[in-house]
């Protein structure tokens, strides 16, 4: 038997590239050539070990597969020498060794991967690689052996619910659109991932574009769609490129276009680049944007299923929802419905970011507790600090405290706690984050992104933001908490679309679980986290200060004194609290009180 060629794969999704992955790949190519090795250097999408980018996976016959993390171009020659030449695993850089226990193995082992099944495994630019991993089997099964109604029933039986945030049953949505009358019918993939702190859709689009395309073709067949659009954020150029490439290749294989698989079904898919408006994630606003106008929502009914793009029946599904579909058709509804809880089936992908030790993509079965996601998969809090809160669901979601860590993640438990499933952003914050400031941050975002059409959202979020700003500046008034609460409930109730309807959530949950922090700002003029500059004073820890004079030289108000190699001090009377010393200090000696 011929010897299998050695293979070295570099993770080159946006995050891998940002971490310097291209330089690592070039160095690998150079090293392999220099040493005359018979090894293939390839690239893949994001496997989700984002905390340890750049990632390199090495396959060599007779050795277990190894994923190396934190690789820089300088590590490449040692890696090649050790693993490829000498056949020895470079232990200090190995994150994951096939069949063995390593410190970071838990990250993947505790996950259940359906949506991310191919991410980080296949070459996203090769349709053949996708097919070799079972790709387009679902489409073949659907088109060759099932009626559109059977496909819809299968998805309904699987219990799949919309992963964009609202959690509406996908099969039911498809039934609405299939039953609507219209000359043309549209299926749209919502890839306008605008939630700050969420990047799972980008990872799927970059790492496994065909899963989304296949899901869309199956969905199109199920509802009788004549046209398909993928509405993708323009900020995701790599995703756009890979989608266009995927569509072209799928057409060549007759999975897409005219007379798909010889079964007489026609569908064309076009990628539309969004132009940057958060509100376009809302269905009716997205439709307006696809039609080339300002992306503003309109009242429903009529629902898009009856009157959508150009007044024709339109069905919109999120990226993650569609990526589930081929798996469901291939493996059957029963197998899918066996995962998860009573009301929430399957898995959910979360983006763990913030102060968590292992940040990255975490796909877990529905019903897994927050504790398991953050501490089991994520490995706990960075720098041994204390967990303070987890923000779920981005600007529409909420902040939950440690007392609620045992809440299961599903469509029923999270709303009960005041948060939402949302699209899947999970930002973990530690004791140094001010919750009032965090609420202010989200309100700044929603206020800026409010399209301005309806008054509760346009003016209400502005007024709430003004109150939060004055609280952070130490000018909060005793009545502010009540005023915030009242405004929040009014905005929720009377806004036209979900943007305004959910915008107050971050404020309401922080008020519910962290009211003491609001009170400290308003009544004691104190920021317990030491973050709000108007409420803190800056100090230098004489134990940590090395006397390097960097802060002395850069203080714009000349408020820091001290000689070389002796601890410095800040004159609080003249300090303008610009944070420059805090930013400049390399020894963590500057602190706030």
């Amino acid at each position: 038997m011929a010897k299998k060629r050695d293979r070295v794969v570099v993770g080159l999704a946006t995050c891998g590239i940002a971490a310097g992955g291209v330089a690592v790949k070039n160095e690998l190519l150079k090293e392999v050539k220099k040493q005359h090795l018979d090894a293939e250097v390839a690239e893949t999408g994001c496997i989700g070990y984002c905390f340890a980018e750049v990632l390199v996976e090495v396959e060599k016959e007779g050795m277990p597969r190894v994923i190396y993390g934190d690789i820089t171009p300088a590590d490449v020659s040692a890696l090649v020498d050790s693993h490829l030449v000498d056949g020895k695993i470079l232990k200090e850089k190995a994150l994951l060794i096939e069949g063995r226990k390593t410190a970071e193995a838990d990250f993947l082992k505790r996950q259940k991967r359906i949506v991310l099944r191919n991410c980080g495994l296949i070459d996203p630019e090769s349709i053949d690689d996708y097919i070799a991993h079972g790709g387009y089997e679902g489409l073949k099964k659907a088109l060759k052996g099932m009626t559109p109604g059977q496909v819809r029933q299968e998805v309904l039986d699987a219990g799949l619910r919309g992963r964009g945030g609202a959690g509406f049953p996908t099969g039911q949505k498809w039934n609405f659109c299939a039953g609507a009358e219209g000359e043309d019918k549209y299926i749209v993939c919502n890839a306008d991932e605008g939630d700050p702190g969420a990047f799972m859709d980008r990872s799927v689009l970059e790492g496994d574009p065909h899963a989304v395309i296949e899901g869309m073709i199956i969905g199109g067949y199920a509802i009788g769609a004549t046209h398909g659009y993928i509405y993708c954020r323009a900020e995701y150029p790599l995703a756009v490129k890979r989608l266009r490439m995927g569509i072209r290749d799928a057409k060549k294989k007759r999975f897409l276009g005219r007379d798909i698989l010889g079964k007489g079904y026609n569908l064309d898919i076009v990628v539309k680049e969004g132009a940057g408006a958060f509100v376009c994630g809302e269905e009716t606003a997205m439709i307006a944007s696809i039609e080339g106008t300002r992306g503003m929502p309109r009242p429903r009914p009529p629902f898009p299923a009856n009157k959508g793009i150009w007044r024709m029946p339109t069905n919109i599904n999120n990226v993650e929802t569609l990526a589930n579909v081929p798996w469901i058709i291939r493996n059957g509804a029963r197998k899918y419905a066996a995962i998860g809880t009573e009301g929430s089936k399957g898995t959910k992908v979360f983006c763990l970011t913030g102060k968590v030790r292992r940040g990255g993509l975490a796909e877990v079965a529905m019903g897994t507790t927050l504790r398991e996601v953050i501490f089991g998969v994520g490995g706990g809090i960075k720098d041994n600090r204390a967990f303070k809160a987890v923000q779920i669901g981005g600007p529409s979601g909420g902040c939950l405290p440690s007392a609620l860590l045992d809440t299961p993640v599903d469509y029923d438990s999270l709303p009960a706690a005041g948060a939402i499933m949302g699209s899947g952003g999970m930002v973990i914050v530690d004791d140094r984050t001010c919750m009032v400031d965090l609420a202010k941050y989200f309100l700044t975002f929603t206020q800026m992104e409010s399209c301005g059409k309806c008054i509760p959202c346009r003016l209400g979020t502005k007024r709430m933001l003004e109150i939060l700003i004055r609280i952070c500046e130490g000018k909060g008034e005793p009545a502010d908490i009540g005023l915030l609460q009242e405004l929040a409930l009014d905005i929720k109730e009377s806004s036209l679309c979900a943007l305004g309807g959910t915008a107050p959530n971050p404020v309401l949950t922080t008020l519910r679980y962290f009211k003491d922090e609001f009170k400290a700002h308003i009544f004691d003029k104190r920021c317990p986290a030491g973050y709000c500059v108007d409420l803190v004073t800056f100090h230098i820890d004489p134990e940590k200060c090395t006397g390097c004079t960097v802060c002395v030289r850069n203080c714009p108000s000349g408020s820091i004194t001290g000689e070389k190699k002796k601890p410095h001090a800040i004159d609080l009377d003249t300090c303008i609290r610009c944070r420059e010393c805090l930013r400049r200090c390399r020894f963590d000696a500057v602190y706030t009180e």
Binding site: T14, C15, I17, A18, A19, C50, F51, E53, E193, G194, D195, P196, G197, A198, F199, R233, A234, E235, Y236, P237, K272, E273, G274, A275, G276, A277, F278, S289, I290, E291, G292, T293, R294, G295, M296, W310, C351, T353, G354, K355, G359, G360, Q391, G394, G425, V427, V429, T433, L438, Y441, F442, F445, E449, C451, R579, E580, L582, R583, R584, R586
Partner: protein
Amino acid sequence: MARNLKSGAVDSDRDAVLQKVIKKYIRQKGALIPILQEAQEALGHLSEESLDYIARATGRTLAQVYGVATFYTQFRLEPIGRHLVRICHGTACHVGGAEDIDASVCGHLGLSDEGGNTEDMEFTVEKVVCVGACSLAPIILVDGVAHGRLTADKARNVIKSYQKQK
């Protein structure tokens, strides 16, 4: 709105670019956004004259075109500097100190913390909401290239490296 294109030669160049872009989409219904995207890609920004040209050539009113161009954050009506620096303000970046990065980058370039164009038009600094690379927070994009895991010092050095490329 700034009127930057002064000479007649530049005007006809611009019109030729716009004509080509519009021709590509003329048969597509509702293609105003891709037209504006490609026009901006080719010309750097959308001047009043460009918007007027697009409006007339596509049978829309200037108000309709202006309305769309100002609704979406991607479109800019003013010229930008040689290097475009985008500072990410997604949640993870915010928690990770994006405001410190603002201060450091803008301070180094002599701009207010809000960003803008440098006087020599070498740099334009703007804040953006989440580039979707949260695990490398805080992060900035310079001419589309991402630089992650920054500190105030590292961010300043990134800008310096572009200043050297003259």
